[in-house]
Symmetry: C2
Amino acid sequence: MPPAFLAVDWGTTNRRCYAIDADGGVIATDRDARGILSVPAGGFPAEVAAMRDRFGDVPVLCAGMVGSTRGWVEAPYVACPATLADLAASLIWAEPGRTAIVPGVKDDAPDVMRGEEVQLLGAVAAGLAPSDALLCQPGTHSKWAMIANGAITGFRTAMTGELFALLRDRSLLTDFMTGPVDDGPAFHDGLALADRGTPLTSLFGERAGAVLGRNAAADVAARVSGLLIGSDVRERSLAPGATVHILAEPGLAALYAAAVRHAGGTPVAVDSHAAFLAGITAIWRLAA
Amino acid sequence: MPPAFLAVDWGTTNRRCYAIDADGGVIATDRDARGILSVPAGGFPAEVAAMRDRFGDVPVLCAGMVGSTRGWVEAPYVACPATLADLAASLIWAEPGRTAIVPGVKDDAPDVMRGEEVQLLGAVAAGLAPSDALLCQPGTHSKWAMIANGAITGFRTAMTGELFALLRDRSLLTDFMTGPVDDGPAFHDGLALADRGTPLTSLFGERAGAVLGRNAAADVAARVSGLLIGSDVRERSLAPGATVHILAEPGLAALYAAAVRHAGGTPVAVDSHAAFLAGITAIWRLAA
């Protein structure tokens, strides 16, 4: 039996395809590195045709950077407050009646997202987060979304993951950032450094400490991670005890959970794959 | 008439050589890109011999990264409080009686400097800054030094310039950071962003603003510069009206002066070349 539709989470560097049945169940899934930057100009129809060859000749619903100016067809941003129904009402049809792209969401801050909105609203639709909540989606660009009455009412993005990668791969700290990053003492030292509110100074202090033999070089990566993630969470000014629903793979989710606890908040882990599936299936049904 | 000695400000990527007479006057000077990273292993004696061939067969006094583990001979750091006499008493002789290297300075923070100490203490020795002062040396790694009774009593380094270069050259903001950076309205917008204390969020906001057409792309580089330099100055927690002596070339000095004024401080420009010459000549005389 063929799937009801194919859902594609199509990002800048990666892509994940799900074959979904009429009840919202996953029949098959595949992940590869064919993000939009690896697709040549005019190459999107062939990419989608290959997915149909593999999973079934059914409608396709795409989300993510595939709807950006660098993607297939630009899907204009929906303004906050944004619901799943708003997204479903603003689908852009790349192939009429056959392939649609979910729009991103914009905030007047200014801020923008593409792809995260499906996961965020899907978490609420699936009951994984309440309809009034603060959701955090850590990553290259970490998203913090305020959800009220089931709508994204506002959100902010921090460049946390991208800065970490730049420092690890291309900075004066690169030689020292070779150790593991996990929720251990060095990461918590980094969270304490973030509390000083002097990140530019603390970053150089990591080099100085390593040069002077004051800090173990193996700890530098974890401490820088703690400094950046701790700074990210501090920028939210969480109310005491505030609950934060975190959508991420387990390793990164554990780091953000530790930072949220350190800042006096209460983290709750949410299954981000389940959230995406619930969101994309809901949009599919609303658009039908 | 030959010079009394050659002074070499020998950094990671650049080198400046001064031929100095017995009165501390500059007879000749030359600047090139033969920083320590461009000198092959074992190549330092030949480099210094070439300088002597050109300027005169006299003693050579070097400062900067040439005294680091990646340089010619490692010159251990002198601890704070550090005076010119302390530096002169701790010269490392790379060629006995012929070529010496000035040590760097360390702070328990932890923090380290190499080369900047000559300029900082030279500014005081030359009367360009008082013997109790806060000095700022902006750059790839900006140095903030507390001077008391003519000694460096403590200092902090911020990774400001390096982060700006990473963001301009290798980040998601690179496409937008093509405009000029000067002390204009966009730079001051960046200083105001820094006051929010949310730099990770403000950085992504620059991308979002450009994507949404809210901000002129030509302004992004200046605004990011204002955000980073403003954050650097904020990390100092300047007392109201605090005087900051700034040692830098005029363009960068103007940006830091604007940020210091924005934070309620009083900037004073110091000629950084004159400061270096005064410092290295004083060390030369003290070591004689």
